[in-house]
Symmetry: D3
Subunit: 136 residues, 6 copies
């Protein structure tokens, strides 16, 4: 079993808040991340897939194919967007990085399995100090 990780990047606006809470409650739980006028980040997305070394070409997955899947299924939908307002797969979820990682897992998994590999981990670095990992 061998693991391959591809990084892709996107920049987006978001706000952490719950619609059924008042602005005050949101501010109390989420702090400055709940600013109603939004803020944003450069997100680094690391997608790790795993597989047996196929005996022929000696790689887990064609990295150009993996790049295209991530671009088409995730990056085009989130880059230079508002995660709360414009990202279909985040509808109904609070725009935390944790929820984003789970949602991206669901977006990517079937397309990676079609290529004969397994999705192993979604890691998102929101800032150089904060990151999230999800293993399904």
């Amino acid at each position: 079993m061998i693991y391959l990780t591809r990084r892709e990047r996107f920049s987006a606006a978001h706000r952490m808040f719950r619609q059924d809470w008042s602005d005050e409650e949101n501010r109390k739980v989420f702090g400055k991340c709940s600013n109603p006028n939004w803020h944003g980040h450069n997100y680094d997305l690391y997608v790790t897939v795993k597989g047996e070394l196929s005996d022929k070409p000696g790689f887990v997955i064609n990295i150009d194919t993996l790049k295209q899947i991530i671009q088409e299924r995730v990056i085009h939908k989130v880059d230079h967007k508002n995660i709360n307002l414009e990202v279909d797969f985040m509808k109904g979820r609070i725009a935390t990085t944790e929820n984003l990682a789970v949602a991206i897992w669901d977006q990517l998994r079937p397309f990676i399995e079609k290529e004969g590999a397994l999705l192993h981990c979604i890691r998102i670095e929101e800032t150089e100090n904060n990151s999230i990992e999800y293993y399904g």
Copy 2:
């Protein structure tokens, strides 16, 4: 003459657009950076000051003082904010990184000169690929 650079970081939302242009014109000039629902970045701000080595303590400026000036005059005003809507020193300016660098220069210069040093350069890294420098 010796140069000291301090980095501080902030995360903010912005949108590049001119109010006297249509959405279509803005989209044509600014591309995806003009998204009406905003997007955002982690900004790295590098402030370079210069001065003679003061004969006594052997430094250009007290770095804690410099840090406080940058925090108070810039970071508290832009971190987790919307640059277009909430930052007083960007009022009336298009929210490009170029304009942001010039505005931050104006914010910091008098306070750094009060400390007996000279402001030399404002550098802003918007992404790992794009950065701006301004020397006054």
Copy 3:
């Protein structure tokens, strides 16, 4: 189960040596890291916690709370300190990064569990080439 990692940084002096060994023996085993006049590093501390996504706010742990715990229990005790002489939780331990990781685990674990999350990993990067991980 989802994993959140917070990075905090500190700068400290240390020396690798055993009190029951001669300077010569220490030098033989620890090399230049045993210099009696000390040396130092910028340490990057990565604290990874894990938990179920709580159904309400959608995060593993409040990251501000986690930051405060790490700051109060570790950073304030080691930053700009001598690890051998001044850090209470390293008393009686050789000041290797391995021992430091184990000691920091013990410092942080109860406070993280009080917040309803589990401590998963302590990682310390001593230089860009050397790092240590401890999983309890």
Copy 4:
């Protein structure tokens, strides 16, 4: 159990291709990475070993010893070399990063075990976007 990671770096040329395929087939599967005139990378090699904290000096493995093993068994053989033509332990293998990771595992494992530690992971970063991990 505690984990120690050492990074070493090398720069090398390579080409991805299978000798029993035509240039056209190689180009189709491997894309620009199959360029017959070679291309190259700066590779970051991360070697992770694990062990119990030996009760005496408080470290997993002497890091100078680990560095020497990696330098002698791997870096001297691949740095400023052509991976396809000049690296003995890659003979007969397609020069993918996946195969390189497996081959480096085989090179290092016996020498690390002689030091009383276990080899845990070989990670190679080929570019800032692509990396491979192998756990044996």
Copy 5:
């Protein structure tokens, strides 16, 4: 006057040698960088342009246009190529990073001036330890 820097990356093979020198002489002057079987690097190319802040859109140059110029005039010609054998603008020059910086300056300058900006600096990072700057 304001400065904008765009980073683009490429991976290439090269060899430092002079055709009118013997292999031995080349080895003596260029060391391992003269390996006849090539080696390679991930190159980071930083292109800095400068200009007055145009009063309308508030930027020095349209960054998408700059990106396209660099991609078309440089990256497509050097990425996954052999700098000695395949790069037209390096014909007849020794494949040092110094010469590469000068050649890239010549490639880019007219196209940047057509956009109303001035080329200020070409910086190439060959490894994390070695870089070259050229100001024309």
Copy 6:
């Protein structure tokens, strides 16, 4: 004129203080950096030299020679040392990064000029947030 920058790294202990001041005065001016039990950093040293492109081999200075000069004249004297107590060229100077940059300039300049190049800049990064530049 072309510029070449070489990075070398060292780890050292230091303390900022003036011998003719009391501990209290030192603490007031230098803050936690004046801790009598020392602290330390990983320092990144960037040495920039400049020169005309010599017509023969196409480089400013032989980078192996430059590396050896920096290693011999600076790194061997400061790495894993106490800057206040053990570094001959810092005797009588307060161990600020500013003074260190000036002292390293004086150490390196004659040896670089012997190689037919000019020393242009000494840059020291003390942490990822603080750096110093000196141009002679």
